[in-house]
């Protein structure tokens, strides 16, 4: 039996295991079976099975034996693995290894011209080549295996992180086609494939597609939903589908369905709600996606767990920011800092929630940091066993390749790593990673521990000098002769370098520095040692170099006088290996989570709850026939208004004194754009298929801010980028709820339409190429859409009738989400709120509706409504307007603040809306302006933000007035609610106090204290030498209706800005 030291073995075994006959050989055939036996090892076969003193035998790239008492083949090269640990190499289920980067015609420099050109692309049709579907974001036909080529420069860092197998796919588009499973061996491409088609991949990001549709989150969702419907039709009704011609995308999309579906929820920002959004699409079409997590799941772990989606979890944790400058720190939000602090708890939180998961090195700038980050996740609560399964068995099972990889069992690929210690312990290093029986050296110097004392003999012209070399680590040593000298030392497993200068003695370490460097735990102690090892030697120092031949070191050198030297060193005593039973690190001290995960979110213990409330002795503005009631009590029970009267009592109620105060119904904002992840799908002129409900953002601080202004219900609208915009969502401002709970249950569905300058893109400085470009065209878009919807409805009815007939051929109807919504409108099941300004378009649009047998429900903005109020009344439309906006674009030149009053006096149902996150906090004041402009009574004015919008939204049976039996959505004001001095003291939604001015004051203190704590923690991270990123202001992307110039705060970015408006 040949015993070979692995240290010197690397070159010998560069074999091409599976060389095949069809490949010509340039030279002499050199077939080798690559049989190795790894003996005396601790063999971790899988997360549950560890065999000590075991042997692993491999041949031809596969495992042929694993365990204790294994016979060692005679032709095996034996590798002694005493004190070594063997693990299955990791599997990364989420990579694009070996796939070329998809390109979108280069990345031009961010010059104003290029940016302008980019944003004005306006490509509405075309954009796809070949036999694929209409939208190039649907790349179902892409197969990663056809694009794949071994790329050792990308494989190497993954191998160094412990990976041996990856799933790979092209990260481009919403549907991304299939992914393949390959190993990371540096072999000919043909030999590394484990499975050709293993995954189907999806995302929300349209990628390199040059079409403008979809331009929004909700557009991405709609496109994907429509694709499922199209594919079902394509499959179910091939005869009809042939009219579509050959469509490889849809064909491929159907074929994809048999594969595991991996949805990257992170590829469009790091919005946690993407996880829920993706899962809901899957639910609708009977698919359980495996979801690539956002890294923020811990923030809403219950909601994430409820999706029941298996997850792919990153260990790419946020870095501390450099916030030493207080002016910088001021601009970093609590949410960002908390996300930094708690980010590493995410894998552990996912494990504890019982969510099956894999881990991925995706998103790490440097995959080599994978293990360090993983250890951090373990320190923050992830169990080692779960970590191991998430890197081996789980991905192998999910990819259907557990018969080939994922554990150290006979018959599987010889993919394993060799470490010097249990792999998740701090001192463990991966020394070798074997993939398909190919050895890849990673950090061989750890094979033999080098720490210890050595007898160093330097042969000088004046005779031999003996020293004791005290080696602390591979990079640190001291030299003990007459004095203890500092030495520059390095040992990389093969080469040894020693430098020293007589007289350069070791001084006592500066205790303060030692405390600082070493005080904060193991990693920092290491950093301290490294720093001390970096000795500054004079240029004249004695320099020795040599080789480690296994038992001793030999080499040559030169001294300060230029004399050539030879030297040898042999071990005296090796340092004892540190035991791993060292006590587990104390769990890190962390702040708690918040609901929502932002300033003014509630801690777990203080989430607001429904209460029985008794408002005593208030002036009650009922917004109802009862009018304004002085000195009146209102009892709230079970989320409803239970009783209105005088002298009420209830034993279980929390009593709120309303003396001198005013109680009104919660305010209703008919036109709002808060709490949504996207607002405009401007990619086409008709986008009735997109839905605000698909991308609600319950974490928007504006919910809380508007509660403070008494708003309890908001109608979240699509923007005004196109004639037929998207479906809207009515919400209640339940701060802390999830996206589903935010919805106003049971409300009639609405949709946003828009007319005029915005939809014809009048302000676009580069000119518009999307139809329509005039108000004439806007009318045509409307008529055409409903015309199409009418035909569609007829076809649908015919299909339904036909499919009920006995013996009818099985067929499938292509459901069209865009036309579905329009059919609903015509059937009065969905209602229009229509952005509008000038008299001509108002009248014209009413006539279009009448032609198709329905009515416009609401004109919103409607700043020239006063000119045609009589016609509007005849049509039966409501009006929701601004109080006093004007003169920001041509179509508002005749806007007047008397508009609301005139329309009201003509007999329209009139509301005052905000369309602005700031103004929504003062809706009561905006309503008050109709007292000033047009002389309405105060009660009439208040109704414009309470019962009137409730009526136009069809929810006046539930909200909008103070009436027994209605929802307890109430505001207690400090003053007359129409006064500028009035503040909401309490804002109640469904009997839950979501805004309490007193409580807010104490939350401010908590926010400040928590910020202070986190800032000093970040500064501490920097001072202790931890990785620190430059400070990044916590920008806020705001969504607007595309209608008017918004005054942006220091940290606000209007994501629509560059597109369309002033």
């Amino acid at each position: 039996m040949r015993k070979i030291k692995l240290l010197a073995s690397g070159l010998l075994f560069a074999t091409l295991l599976q060389a095949q006959e069809t490949f010509p050989v340039n030279g002499v055939t050199d077939k080798r079976e690559g049989c190795f036996a790894f003996t005396n090892a601790t063999l971790v076969k899988d997360a549950n099975t560890t065999v000590t003193n075991a042997t692993l035998v491999i041949r031809d790239g596969k495992i042929i034996a694993a365990g204790s008492g294994v016979a060692i083949p005679k032709d095996a090269v034996v590798v002694d693995c005493k004190d070594k640990f063997l693990y299955p190499s990791f599997i990364d289920i989420y990579t694009d290894y070996g796939i070329p980067q998809p390109q979108r015609a280069g990345a031009p420099a961010a010059t104003p011209q290029n940016i302008q050109a980019f944003f004005n692309a306006q490509q509405t049709t075309g954009g796809t080549k070949g036999l694929n579907g209409w939208n190039p974001a649907i790349k179902a036909e892409v197969d990663a295996i056809r694009l794949f080529a071994v790329d050792d420069s990308r494989a190497k860092p993954l191998r160094e992180a412990g990976f041996g197998t990856v799933a790979t796919h092209q990260k481009d588009g919403i549907v991304r086609g299939t992914g393949a499973v390959v190993t990371l061996a540096n072999l000919k491409d043909n030999f590394v494939v484990v499975k050709e088609k293993a995954t189907a991949n999806l995302s929300f990001n349209k990628g390199t597609s040059s079409l403008s549709y979809p331009s929004s989150m909700m557009g991405s969702i709609a496109l994907l939903r429509q694709t499922y419907l199209d594919a079902a039709w394509f499959k179910g009704n091939p005869a009809a589908a042939t009219k579509e011609g050959v469509n490889l995308s849809l064909k491929a999309f159907n074929e994809l369905q048999s594969l595991p579906q991996i949805f990257d929820a992170q590829d469009r920002g790091t919005d946690l709600w993407n996880v829920m959004r993706a899962d809901r699409i899957g639910d609708e079409f009977g698919v359980q996606y495996i979801i690539k997590a956002t890294g923020r799941e811990f923030q809403r772990i219950k909601d994430v767990a409820a999706t029941k989606a298996p997850m792919i979890v990153t260990v790419n944790f946020p870095q501390a920011q450099d916030v030493e400058d207080p002016n910088d720190a001021r601009l970093v939000s609590l949410a960002d800092m908390k996300n930094w602090e708690l980010g590493p708890t995410n894998p552990g939180a996912i494990e504890k929630a019982g969510i099956p998961f894999c881990l991925t090195a995706a998103d790490l700038r440097d995959p080599k940091t994978f293990l360090a980050n993983l250890r951090k996740a373990i320190e923050y609560g992830l169990s080692e066993k779960a970590a191991m399964e998430a890197l081996t068995k789980n991905p192998a099972n999910w990819l259907g390749v557990y018969d080939k990889v994922g554990s150290l069992e006979v018959g599987k690929l010889a993919n394993f790593v060799v470490t010097n210690a249990p792999i998740f312990s701090d001192r463990a290093v991966i020394m070798q990673n074997w993939v398909q029986g190919e050895k890849y050296s990673i950090k061989e110097d750890a094979w033999s521990p080098v720490a210890g004392t050595y007898n160093l003999v330097v042969n000088t012209p004046s005779g031999a000098q003996a020293f004791t070399l005290d080696v602390k680590s591979a990079s640190s040593a001291t030299l003990i002769g007459k004095d203890t000298l500092q030495a520059r030392f390095s040992h990389d497993g093969r080469t040894v370098k020693i430098g020293f200068a007589p007289g350069l003695r070791v001084r006592r370490a500066n205790p303060a520095m030692a405390a600082m460097m070493g005080g904060a735990g193991g990693a920092n102690a290491g950093a301290a040692a490294a720093m001390m090892g970096a000795v500054n030697l004079p240029a004249s120092a004695t320099r020795l170099t040599g080789f480690n031949n296994g038992s001793s070191w030999n080499g040559t050198g030169v001294d300060s006088a230029g004399n050539l030297l030879t030297w040898t060193a042999s071990p005296i005593a090796m340092a004892a290996v540190k035991s791993d039973s060292a006590k587990a690190k104390p769990a890190p001290k962390l702040g708690g989570t918040l609901y929502p995960f932002t300033a003014f979110g509630a801690a777990d213990s203080s989430v607001p709850k429904q209460e029985t409330l008794l408002f005593k002795n208030a002036t009650v503005w009922t917004s109802d026939k009862a009018g304004k009631l002085e000195n009146t009590d209102v009892l709230v029970k079970g989320g409803k208004i239970a009783k209105i009267g005088k002298g009420l009592s209830d034993a279980g109620a929390r009593v709120i004194d309303g003396t001198g105060k005013h109680l009104t119904a919660g305010l209703i904002d008919e036109h709002s754009h808060i709490a949504s992840a996207s607002t405009n799908e401007g990619g086409q002129s008709v986008t009735s298929e997109v839905r605000i409900q698909d991308n609600l953002d319950p974490d928007d601080i504006n919910i809380y801010r508007q509660l403070s202004g008494g708003v309890t219900t908001s109608h979240i609208l699509h923007g005004s980028a196109n004639t037929i915009g998207g479906q809207t969502q009515l919400i209640k401002l339940r701060w802390g709820a999830n996206d589903e709970e935010l919805k106003f249950k049971g409300a009639d569905p609405f949709i946003k339409f828009a007319l005029g300058e915005n939809v014809k893109r009048s302000s676009n400085s580069q000119g518009n190429t999307r139809y329509p470009d005039t108000r004439m065209g806007v009318e045509q878009v409307l008529i055409d859409a409903f015309n199409r919807a009418k035909i569609y409805e007829g076809q649908w009815a015919a299909f339904e009738a036909n499919s009920k007939k006995k013996g009818a051929a099985p067929s499938a109807f292509r459901r069209d989400l865009e036309l579905d919504a329009l059919v609903e409108i015509m059937n009065k099941k969905r209602f229009i709120t229509c952005h509008s300004y000038v008299a001509s378009e108002i009248v014209g649009t009413m006539r279009v509706a009448e032609r198709f047998g329905f009515r416009i429900n609401t004109f919103t903005h409607i700043l020239e409504g006063y000119k045609v109020a009589d016609k509007m009344k005849a049509h039966g439309v409501a009006a929701s307007t601004f109080s006093d906006w004007w003169a920001y674009k041509n179509e508002v030149q005749d806007a007047i603040p008397y508009n609301a009053a005139i329309m009201h006096k003509v007999g329209l149902n009139v509301a005052i809306n905000s369309d602005d996150a700031e103004m929504a906090r003062r809706l009561n004041q905006e309503a008050a302006k109709s007292v000033k402009y047009g002389g309405l009574t105060e009660e009439e004015a208040l109704n414009m933000v309470t019962i009137n919008p409730a009526k136009m939204l069809h929810v006046d049976n539930q909200v909008g007035s103070i009436k027994e039996g209605k929802d307890a959505d109430l505001v207690l004001w400090s003053d007359n609610p129409l006064s500028i001095y009035a503040m909401s003291l309490y804002t109640v939604v469904d009997g839950t106090v979501y805004w309490d001015r007193e409580k807010d004051l104490s939350m401010r203190k908590q926010v400040k204290a928590e910020r202070t704590r986190l800032i000093s923690k970040m500064v501490g991270e920097k001072r202790s030498g931890g990785p620190v990123a430059p400070f990044t202001p916590s920008y806020k992307y705001i969504h607007t209706c595309l209608d008017h110039g918004h005054k942006l705060g220091m940290l606000e970015i209007d994501i629509e800005d560059a597109d369309d408006h002033q």
């Binding site: 601009l331 109020a869 003169a887």
Partner: protein, 437 residues
């Protein structure tokens, strides 16, 4: 004979006019005596005089007091019993007259080409016939500081009075300010799809460094200007010449900024060049109120009706910023820079400041006397005090509260304005259509 003009008949007068915007004439110069009697006079400096009378002569306030004798001569007398009398409001920084409709490029004379444009003067482009002007007067705004916009040195600004045939007549104090737009020191991701921005564009350069370089260039400009003044007889340089009033303290430097670091740089300007510096916008000024006080840097605050800078900020931070500056003793005034209402909610922004910590009279000062001080026109306006121009408004009730803020009379230099505007005219037109009373 004494002309007693009651509120009732003046209203009738207005209602019956229904003239086109084009026939809302600027008033003729006020000659002789004019009295406003029995009003609650809010002087502007914190004092409130109940049942007081204001005596105006030839456009100037001659006397203010309780029980002033009104001669039985041929004088104009307005009985404003039960009404509130205030100094005319001043819009402290505005695009009025330079920009009619922001969405229509050709109606905009706001931003000249080039980074350093000190010689550009807003007053020459000021459109005295802007339709917006009359809507402001209807809400009590009688003076406005009209400022050009730029990427660095935007140009020279002027204060105008809002009742004039043309810009020369409108000029109340011409060329009183130089506008400096401080570049942002924050790196800012791109516009649409900011997060995806980097995917498509290779972002070049460090914005902080670029900003500091730009600021250095401005400093260099002023250093060269100083040197230029030291030696006359040189060829005239329009740009350098335009900086002269700043050095002569005939002009203040108005620095548009929001970040603390920008403000610190502004203070540095004040120190190096001895300029009188006023910050405009300055949403974070509350963080360094003490420093601003110490360096006598005044602030034109952007509107109160604004969102907090950061999610973490107190949710009413913009509302209470004024109170913080007030407490620290910083000279400040309040603006309404809203692009959609065009400034007419100035009084309500002050009202919000009053709801959140200022006294009502302090809030009034922030849109009258303190504004005049900040703009350097307090010797002639900003308060109802003897010797000042009779720039006065009369409101039904508390002007800071929209529910009662209805301006009945307005006087600029004693001239009684016709408080009609395009909006009132359209209101009349459609009341007529629908037969609304």
């Amino acid at each position: 004979m004494k002309k007693i003009i009651t509120l009732v008949n003046s209203l009738l007068l207005l209602g019956g006019m229904a003239t086109a915007q084009e026939t809302i004439y600027p008033a003729k110069a006020q000659k002789g005596l004019l009295f406003l009697k029995n009003g609650t006079v809010h002087v502007g400096n914190g004092t409130v005089l109940e049942n007081a009378t204001i005596k105006i002569k030839d456009g100037k306030i001659e006397e203010v007091g309780v029980g002033l004798a009104i001669p039985a001569d041929d004088v104009a007398v307005f009985d404003v019993k039960g009404k509130h009398v205030y100094p005319g409001l001043i819009l402290p920084a505005s695009s009025l007259g330079l920009q009619e409709i922001s969405g229509i490029r050709s109606t905009t004379d706001l931003t000249e080409i080039g980074d350093v444009n000190p010689s550009v003067r807003s007053i020459v482009a000021y459109n005295a016939d802007s339709k917006i002007t009359n809507t402001l007067r209807s809400n009590g705004i009688l003076l406005a500081h009209v400022a050009p916009v730029g990427s660095l040195v935007g140009g020279t600004s002027s204060v105008v009075q809002l009742d004039a045939w043309n810009w020369e007549d409108a000029a109340y104090k011409a060329d009183m300010g130089m506008q400096l737009y401080m570049p942002s020191l924050l790196s800012r991701p791109g516009g649409r799809f900011g997060a995806l921005f980097a995917q498509f564009f290779s972002v070049q350069g460090d914005p902080t460094k670029e900003a500091l370089d730009k600021i250095d260039a401005v400093k260099q400009f002023f250093r060269e200007a100083k040197a230029y003044f030291a030696q006359e007889s040189k060829e005239p340089n329009l740009k350098l010449e335009a900086a002269r009033p700043l050095f002569e303290k005939k002009q203040k430097l108005y620095v548009h900024c929001s970040q603390v670091k920008q403000m610190l740089i502004a203070i540095d300007f004040a120190k190096e060049f001895g300029f009188e510096v006023v910050l405009i916008g300055a949403s974070d000024a509350w963080q360094i109120a003490d420093l601003l006080k110490q360096h006598n840097v005044a602030v034109i605050m952007s509107q109160m009706h604004d969102l907090p800078t950061l999610d973490d900020d107190d949710i009413d931070m913009p509302y209470k910023r004024a109170a913080i500056l007030q407490k620290a003793g910083v000279l400040f005034c309040i603006n309404d820079d809203d692009p959609q209402n065009r400034g007419r909610n100035l009084a309500f922004n002050a009202g919000t400041a009053a709801a959140y910590g200022l006294s009502k009279e302090e809030a009034l000062g922030a849109i009258t006397l303190n504004t005049a001080k900040v703009l350097g026109i307090d010797n002639t306006t900003g308060s109802i005090e003897k010797g000042k121009d009779a720039n006065i408004i009369v409101s039904d009730g508390d002007i800071l509260d929209m529910k009662s803020s209805v301006v009945q009379h307005a006087f600029i230099q004693g001239r009684k304005l016709v408080l009609d505007d395009k909006h009132k005219q359209l209101y009349e037109r459609y009341k007529y259509k629908y037969g609304i009373k």
